[in-house]
């Protein structure tokens, strides 16, 4: 399987607002994908469309080769979805949640669920509503891992966790991903921890995909150019993501492979965080309007 999610001109409108529109992307399998964007950018909508919770208003989406809306019986057993609030039935004890998982999922791995609970020290007799935030997140993660899915869809999985719980959660997630060869799509608005966790990035702004690609590729494909004060024509250039002028010089963050740049510009490498921030600060900047650009080049890990 080449791609885990394939969206073509995908759009979702709530009332008169397009939460997501003209969204085309092909997410390769075996990646840990970060979906980045400010609140309201459409991250949750994208994940819910992928899980089949939402119907598209326009376009198509395929998850693991099937339509999550039309073929839920094929998609649901193979994905693990956790919403941002990590909803669980508060009155259910942990062991009852696991029993629920066993009864509703054909591929349920009871040993995995039990041993994770034991390892994390989460009491099976405790009702879900009495769990700490960190434990609750871990129970929710366990519920989806024990489904033995091919892909995880996690909406803001570490939001609201304290730094320690956050690190433990991500570490835990990465172990599970490595052990089971999972694809993961997780949304976040925190940039700092992503570089260690993720290897693929999709930036959403105002309901549209601004950029999508492998993190290494993205870092290779962006440069900061510093040169003499340029005219306003650079601001209209679609490859320019961010610009700033001082009296005598102009600094640009440009999508480029570094070739064909006129020698008057001084070319600098740029880190992931700066690239992400540049896109976030200009939600209308787009580098990847077409799905073929979102494909990863061959030979990636």
């Amino acid at each position: 399987m080449n791609s885990v999610i394939e969206a073509r001109d995908l759009g979702k409108r709530f009332g008169s607002t397009w939460a997501l529109h003209s969204c085309s992307v092909r997410i390769p399998s075996g990646r840990v994908v970060a979906l980045i964007g400010p609140n309201g950018a459409g991250k949750t909508t994208f994940l819910r469309l992928s899980a089949g919770l939402v119907e598209p208003t326009a376009g198509h989406i395929e998850v693991l080769g099937w339509s999550p809306q039309a073929q839920p019986t094929l998609v649901l057993p193979r994905i693990g979805f956790v919403a941002q609030e990590r909803p669980l039935y508060g009155r259910f004890k942990v062991k009852e949640l696991l029993e629920l998982g066993r009864r509703l999922n054909p591929r349920w791995d009871a040993d995995l669920a039990q041993s994770r609970m034991k390892r994390l020290g989460i009491p099976l007799e405790r009702p879900a509503r009495q769990l700490s935030g960190g434990h609750r997140a871990q129970v929710a993660l366990t519920m989806v891992l024990a489904k033995r899915p091919d892909m995880l869809l996690l909406d803001e999985p570490v939001a609201g966790l304290d730094p320690l719980a956050r690190r433990e959660f991500l570490q835990n997630l990465m172990e599970a991903v490595a052990d089971n060869n999972l694809s993961v799509v997780l949304s976040s608005h925190i940039v700092s921890e992503l570089e260690r966790t993720c290897d693929y990035l999709i930036i959403l702004g105002e309901g549209q995909i601004q950029v999508a690609g492998g993190i290494d590729d993205l870092v290779n494909q962006h440069r900061v150019l510093v040169g003499p004060r340029a005219g306003h024509e650079v601001e209209g250039d679609p490859t320019v993501i961010r610009f700033s002028h001082t009296e005598r010089q102009t600094t640009l963050l440009v999508r480029t492979d570094g070739r064909g740049i006129s020698p008057e510009w001084e070319v600098h490498q740029v880190g992931l965080e700066d690239i992400v921030l540049a896109y976030l600060s200009r939600p209308t900047a787009r580098s990847i309007p077409r799905p073929e650009l979102a494909e990863s080049p061959a030979g990636r890990p």
């Binding site: 089949g52 919770l53 649901l76 994905i79 009852e96 629920l100 009864r103 054909p106 489904k147």
Partner: protein, 287 residues
């Protein structure tokens, strides 16, 4: 899935079970009271119940003892379907969405349609079983009361036969539909109650006209027993060729089951429409 449904709603089930058990116990208790009173007063051997006779006085004291209670029982029983709609059906979808747990349960390996079908199927099954049991119990219970009502069966029209079962099924479907449209628990409960009461009152007002009523002139003072068991729609006093008479507009006793069938049909039809609405919402509205 039935295990999940049971685990999730065991509290409501226990509560509903206790309410039903209490009602059953109360009915048995009152039945014993009524039967022994009837025996004591010798009502069984009465032929002439006119006021002034010994039998009339006995019946009068019997009625004083039990009339109010029987009215209370009838009202209490007609409120039960509303409770079901408001407290069980309306929150079924609304609460899941309000707490976001629908995203949890609908991303297990079970489609939301299947989830809904099993859950509502189980609920409908228990509703029909309990409503039938209750309607049966009431039929048995009101026998001792029949003597004091001229139109015994019509008096208990709303709590015997298939009609109360249809009310319960309707209330269930209504709660589900309203909950699936409003998606917030408390407003959905309030709206369910309102729509239920309005619908019941509307159909109740229409009931006398399900079939064209019959009329009969009765000379005053009326002492005719030919209308025994009929459902009196109205009894205006009018001047006719035979002098001042009661013009009785009525539905005859033998239409009882026809009326039961008509009203059952109406409420089941409405229930079906409402289930359609919830199924549509489930598929297209909830996300």
């Amino acid at each position: 899935m039935s295990w999940v449904t049971w685990r999730q709603h065991s509290r409501e089930a226990a509560l509903a079970g206790s309410i039903l058990a209490l009602i059953a116990a109360f009915l048995v208790f009152e039945w014993i009271q009524m039967s022994s009173a009837s025996l004591q007063l010798g009502l069984g051997s009465c032929r002439d119940n006119n006021a002034g006779t010994a039998c009339g006085q006995a019946l009068n004291s019997y009625m004083q003892n039990f009339f109010g209670m029987s009215v209370t029982v009838r009202y209490a029983l007609t409120a039960l379907p509303a409770l079901l709609g408001v407290f069980v059906a309306a929150p079924l979808l609304a609460r899941e969405v309000e707490q976001g747990t629908h995203t949890f349960i609908w991303t297990q390996s079970i489609t939301r349609t299947r989830w809904f079908t099993i859950k509502v199927g189980l609920l409908a099954f228990f509703t029909v079983v309990s409503a039938s049991a209750l309607a049966g119990a009431v039929t048995w219970w009101h026998q001792p009361l029949d003597q004091m009502y001229g139109n015994g069966q019509w008096t208990f029209y709303e709590v015997t036969g298939p009609v109360p079962i249809a009310y319960a099924v309707f209330a269930l479907a209504l709660g589900l539909a309203v909950g699936s449209v409003i998606l917030r628990t408390v407003p959905a409960m309030a709206a369910t109650l309102l729509v239920f009461v309005v619908t019941r009152v509307a159909i109740q007002s229409w009931r006398p006209w399900f079939l064209a009523p019959m009329t009969k002139e009765l000379p005053l003072p009326a002492s005719d027993t030919s209308l025994r068991g009929a459902f009196e729609v109205s009894t205006p006093t009018v001047n006719s060729l035979h002098g001042v008479v009661d013009l009785v507009v009525y539905q005859p006793a033998d239409r009882f089951w026809t009326f039961q069938a008509i009203e059952t049909g109406i409420f089941l039809f409405l229930a079906l429409l409402l289930i359609g609405i919830s199924a549509w919402s489930l598929r297209h509205r909830i996300h």
